[in-house]
């Protein structure tokens, strides 16, 4: 097993790891720094957190983000579970078309379909706001969720469901008592990912929010572009915690229970965006 492992690569890996964490550490450190300018450590304070917490704009936008995230997560999961169940009985050709639609929602740049949605909503006179953002977030969130649920269902054998059907359970009962409980870990992981992506999204949120809805990520971007204050670092640290906690929980569930997330990990993301 042990090869002539060229030591320099290990050293290099260490340096890269440090660089990966440097910006994150910087945000956390500056959020706890007394001085308002980013000139170095001048003393510990939680002042900027209380500034951020008492900022009415921050509170309002945090609520908007919560609304958007929960609505888009519920819709995305409904779509994904239906899609997953459909996939099991689909013909290979129909499946190929369906998967093509799923993957293209992830791969194509968000900016393109966000602008398309901008035109669509103005044409239909629906207007912008929370629901316009939700419509956009579901486009990519449902794609990630569908991949996770499909992968989980593919790894399930149908013996339990067949047994239940043989014992006289109707299709709805089979789903409710057998299939869905087996899907729960995958559904949880998909939900946590969707919440994170929703909170993190800027492009759709910025273009489709109009004047009535501004999620926290858009507020943060505006603050960064206009005036840099340590308050930004405090909000940023809080936002990182939200995404980090939900992603780690998703990771933990994946380790403890089989879900389709490993498949998604191999696929990667932009995601992020």
């Amino acid at each position: 097993m042990k090869l002539r492992l060229p030591r320099p690569t290990s050293v290099f890996t260490g340096i890269v790891m440090i660089c990966l964490y440097l910006p994150i550490i910087a945000v956390v450190v500056y959020s706890l720094d007394k001085s308002a300018d980013l000139i170095g450590w001048t003393g510990f304070t939680t002042h900027w957190y209380s500034v951020a917490f008492h900022d009415p704009e921050v509170r309002r936008d945090l609520l908007t983000s919560l609304e958007v995230a929960s609505a888009s997560t519920v819709i995305s999961l409904t779509i994904a579970v239906c899609a997953g169940l459909w996939t099991r009985g689909a013909s290979p050709r129909a499946r190929r078309i369906f998967d093509g639609l799923t993957y293209s929602r992830i791969v194509l740049p968000e900016i393109v379909f966000a602008l398309g949605l901008l035109i669509l909503f103005s044409k239909l006179h629906i207007g912008y706001g929370v629901w316009a953002i939700v419509a956009g977030h579901v486009v990519f969130n449902s794609a990630y969720a569908t991949i996770i649920i499909q992968a989980r269902l593919a790894s399930l054998s149908s013996t339990l469901e067949e047994a239940a059907a043989d014992l006289g359970a109707n299709r709805w009962r089979v789903f409710r008592r057998i299939t869905f409980p087996l899907l729960v870990p995958a559904v949880l992981v998909a939900a946590l990912l969707a919440i994170s992506f929703s909170f993190d999204d800027v492009i759709v949120s910025q273009f489709l929010g109009g004047t009535s809805a501004e999620p926290i990520s858009v507020l943060l971007l505006g603050m960064i572009r206009l005036h840099v204050t340590p308050e930004v670092n405090a909000i940023g640290t809080a936002l990182m915690l939200i995404t980090l906690v939900s992603f780690s929980t998703a990771g933990l569930i994946t380790v403890l229970r089989p879900t389709g997330a490993g498949h998604l990990l191999a696929l990667g993301r932009r995601a992020a965006e």
């Binding site: 660089c19 994150i24 945000v27 980013l38 639609l101 791969v107 740049p109 602008l115 990990l265």
Partner: protein, 306 residues
Amino acid sequence: MAVQLTSEPNAPAPPPDPGRRRFAVRVAGRQLLALPGVGWTVLFFLAPMALLLVYSFGSVNLLTLHVEFGWTLSNYTQIGQALYLQPIVRSLALSAAATLACLLIGFPVAYTIARASGRRQALLLLGVMIPFWTSFVVRTYGIYDVIADNGPIYSILHSLGIVHGYIHVLFTQYGVGIGVVYTYLPLMILPLFVSLERIDPSLLEAAGDLGATSARTLRRVILPLAVPGIIAGTILVAIPATGEYVIPQILGGDTTLLFGNVVSDQFEDIGNYPAGAAMAIALTAVLLIVLMFLRSRSYKAEAAVA
């Protein structure tokens, strides 16, 4: 779409008469499960794309902002002008450079992780993924903190006497480049790791026993087997990097604009929807061509590895 999906060529033969109708209803019911996903995609993904396509052939009265539809190609020929061509070329160049940088930085890291044993490997993978899981805007802002003119990197370099005077990285294309590489590096490392981990260590031992130097083993054994991972990583980095919109806004100031920013300016500031639509369609077309090229290479590479 739903109609097409119902006509399953591989559907099992229908059972005899009494059950027949019930079966048909059941099959149709099954197909309904595809409806939410397909419906949402058609309404909020395909329809907007189609609208963009229609708009891209139209023209706009820049005083009244009234859009007239037609079949003009002027929005596309206009892209050739230097004003628009420059951000396009800049985006493609930046994306290519960032992808190459991710590959050069990511390969040794992925190799180290692939050769590490059990627990260490899991920890290293987690270490790569955690930054990727934290908020994207905040991470990019963190780079802003780090590379600012009087930020920590500068202080260290300055106190070591390596740098005299000021260096500007923030608000230049190097700043944007650093941001793109930092953001997408994990997406290069993961697929590289997957393909490198699959390499049987006995192959490397055999190469060594037969007298190959490490460099030769790398070039003749490891690299060819890593090609699928390299292509997958390139897709995951190059495609989103070309359409990148947020990183230049934070790290590029107003000087280093990329394609995505110019497209959105057409919508937000200038109000020329047809021109913006043509650019968005052109961007999509370029990315699709790159994607299809890489996909076909990846199939060939997979076949060669197998």
